[in-house]
Symmetry: C2
């Protein structure tokens, strides 16, 4: 496969969106195709338990069957390649919480059997594995957390620490025998926010072959970097300065069809009767409009064009998708069984 950009469809660049947050329907699948997205990681669970997540996998199995002209569910990078070759989008099934495994280490393999390929250790709250970015204290990776990481390594499932506390995230990077990922967060040195990560953690992840995916979600990009495509591509390039050209990709965190009800579920789930605003605030509790340049994933080709004003074709290809592909090959195609 050529992954070099040439402006022709035959040798188009391979695009990967390392984390999405949408409510999917056929229109969103069409947007993915029009955006030339070869692979997208979707979120099947925030707080969903085992059965609820299995319901969601079932829904994806139906969608894949009903929209086989647009998508396929990928179990490895050969499937992603097949999506590229047929100009479809490979869906990598992901969760932003480990709630589906119900604190059972053996469920990692069973969810892998069902198709899960990317799992975040914890979402906004501390759990049995470790701490979250929103907790006051992070006690680090637990004994159970180490077991889960070992099991994810063994079966070939990518570890995501985007919402994880920094201490737990660092200890996860150290405990894992495979590269891990911050699928959708920024450097807090560039954009101070509880959700973003310090340079030390980013470098630890990168130093072990891992990745940071740059989100376009305005609340964690800041006004400057999400004002326009030039600003956002500057954010990407500044992150490259921290992590290195081989360790930055895109993880838009895009939320197509997201509404207040969905946002409320993401934020408060079933863990509080009160309020919590996630990356937002009481003053700004609503759904954040996406930036103009990434209202849908149809924004990807313009990002390629903008990046190429400052980076080589090869460097641009790495950011647009090749870095993710390298990590997927290393982690997902290569179980440590």
């Amino acid at each position: 496969m050529s992954t070099k950009a040439s402006g022709t469809k035959e040798s188009r660049m391979l695009y990967v969106d390392g984390l999405e947050n949408s409510i999917y329907d056929r229109q969103v699948f069409e947007e993915l195709q029009r955006g030339n997205i070869t692979c997208a990681v979707v979120t099947m669970a925030f707080w969903e338990d085992t059965l609820e997540t299995m319901d969601e996998i079932g829904r994806w199995n139906d969608w894949a069957e009903q929209n086989s002209d647009l998508i396929l569910i990928a179990r490895n990078t050969a499937d992603i390649q097949r999506a590229y070759d047929t100009k479809r989008t490979a869906i990598l099934l992901g969760t932003q919480n480990s709630s589906p495994i119900a604190d059972r280490v053996r469920f990692v393999e069973l969810f892998h059997n069902m198709g899960l390929r990317v799992m975040q250790l914890t979402y906004n709250n501390q759990n049995a594995i470790g701490g979250s970015c929103y907790e006051a204290e992070d006690a680090g990776l637990t004994r159970f957390g180490k077991q889960v990481i070992s099991e994810m390594n063994r079966v070939g499932m990518l570890i995501d620490i985007s919402h994880v506390g920094e201490r737990t995230g660092l200890e996860a990077a150290e405990a894992s025998s495979t590269p891990i990922a911050i699928t959708h967060a920024n450097a807090s040195s560039l954009v101070p926010h509880l959700r973003n990560k310090n340079d030390g953690l980013i470098r630890a992840v990168a130093g072990r072959g891992g990745m940071i995916g740059i989100p376009s979600y305005p609340k964690i990009c800041g006004e400057k970097y999400s004002a326009n495509i030039e600003g956002w591509c500057e954010l990407i390039r500044r992150t490259v300065d921290i992590a290195g050209i081989d360790h930055v990709g895109i993880g838009t965190d895009i939320g197509r069809n997201e509404d207040q009800k969905y946002l409320d579920w993401m934020r408060v789930g079933r863990w509080t009767r009160g309020e919590f605003f996630g990356a937002g605030s009481a003053a700004n509790p609503g759904v954040t409009p996406p930036p103009e340049f990434m209202r849908t994933t149809e924004g990807f080709p313009a990002v390629e064009q903008e990046l190429r004003k400052h980076l080589t074709e090869e460097e641009t290809a790495k950011i647009m998708g090749e870095n993710w592909m390298r990590v997927y090959r290393d982690v997902i195609d290569n179980p440590r069984n």
Copy 2:
């Protein structure tokens, strides 16, 4: 592979036990190996729900890893062949109830992903799919039941109706596009018992390419046929007279390590605070000792020898395992996807 018996290990007959009920440990796996059992269907659930069954699958994954010199978990008949070639036992994961799918049709595929290959539509009680042999009335296969059958056909999972009501069983045979099985029951014309099946149902199952597996569990074989190996092999031959030589196999229903607690769970589960004795009775509520000739699956070679006194080598091979293999090839290797 030669499946002909010749008395040498190199061309030994392939044995399949179409349904077992044991509590497994390494000793039981050794018994399977010593009995030359190439394939055994195990029971992972009677009343167990989704998570409990997933726990059990996880346990099997561990056992398979820890006892890889004795067993492997089979996903298709190529795996069973591999077990034969390496003189191990292929475990086909099964359940005696559809409780794991939690009334969700999509969970059939997900449990297939996790390894489930044989599922009984219902156990001793009516459920959302259909009626049971112990209910006073059997209203037949429900609309949901038809969906489950269609899904089991699609993914390649064998339908078991051993404890199912006769009307539901007959309608399941008619609804299924693949052969179905009575994995462990007798002809009620030979041994009257609520658990056993009338000749019309047996012939309907056989007429569609399916199977009846003869149990050695004394309570449903009667005294005469479980008194000794000669009697039991007569029961097999008499069932052949009803179903045909291509449609009878063995499904011992053997319960190694079975104790009163396990028996109580099988019988009353969580559905009653009162008593229920399953195939037993208030006068005879305890664990039934197995017949002398099948105290463990080490009894299989003697069954081969006894059957060959009355049947040809080819006929004996069909009963000892080849008929099950044909059905597994047709159903499990050949999803109607």
